[in-house]
Amino acid sequence: MLDFIGRLFGRVDQGSSSIAKKRLQLVLVQDRTNMSPEVLEDLKTELIGVLSRYLEIDEVGMSVELDRSDDSIALVASIPVKSVRARSVQTDSLKSARVGE
């Protein structure tokens, strides 16, 4: 319904080309970042290295993925923390480091 009203009163220039442009821009970010499973694995290993200096993390339970949501691409990492090392870090999981625009 909202969609219909949107179309009735919507901007005249919202043709299919703007949809095409948006879709292309997103798919190209993915294509260009070209995160092969190996590269992603490397990234994971390095992340673990850095994070372990601050936190004791659960390496088996962690996941790192490139995620495409509605209008952006995000690097989504879910990293269970077992304990915080003796530093001033208080987060218990690290999420959504943005990649791209």
């Binding site: 919202q14 080309s17 260009r32």
Partner: protein, 267 residues
Amino acid sequence: MSGQVVVVTSGKGGVGKTTVVANIGTGLALSGQKVVLVDADIGLRNLDVVMGLENRILYDIVDVVEGRTEVRKALIRDKRVEGLSLLPASQTRDKTAVTEEQMKCLCDSLKEEFDYVLIDCPAGIEQGFQNAVAGADGAIIVSIPEVSALRDADKVVGLLEGAGLTDPYLVVNRIRMDMVRRGDMLDVSDMTDILGRQVRLLGIVPDDQSIIVSTNRGEPAVLDPKSRAGQAFRNIVRRLLGEEVEFMDLNEGGLVARLMKLVGLAK
């Protein structure tokens, strides 16, 4: 003399590579350049028919690289345009029949004799593509205003870079201004936005029935003074030769279309 080897490529098939090679090549020769067109789409020989030279083939590119004949004897001279020749693809062999090394050798010897060596690349990004780009000094990417073609073009930009060919030219083919105006076709600015600063816009060719008519006849549209696509190709040739030429106004809609644009009712 050392000419330039320019490969015309796209990733996706059917977007107009062969048409672009035939027209730019013929146009360059009309401007007094010595030009050879090399059909590297081995197994799917097409450039000969688009050029109308299919009845004069004696030898092909594979005969040359395998030493069955000299290059000179395999070249077909175009009788309509001074300084224009074609080296046809083989129709019976496949894309592995010429290696990268052989292609480099061939290009090096051709550019001794010609100002421009234009290579018609096969579709795809496998060995046939790698072979076709092996001897090139520069590249022209052809794309149409569609998502899949542009995605492939973007991929090809990366692959060309890997082969040492940076800053390729872009030819936007088959644009339809009526569709662009009603917002249903990507405009040239969208396309250059998407591909980014990594490509240089060389020309914009309208979707034009005269291309089909000229292909039926075997006479490139660039030879037809009345063809709009032909005009676009003549402009491209002048740009390649270093002239600054404005991009054609493709809005044939005239006053109404311009007024609509002015009051913001159309793009």
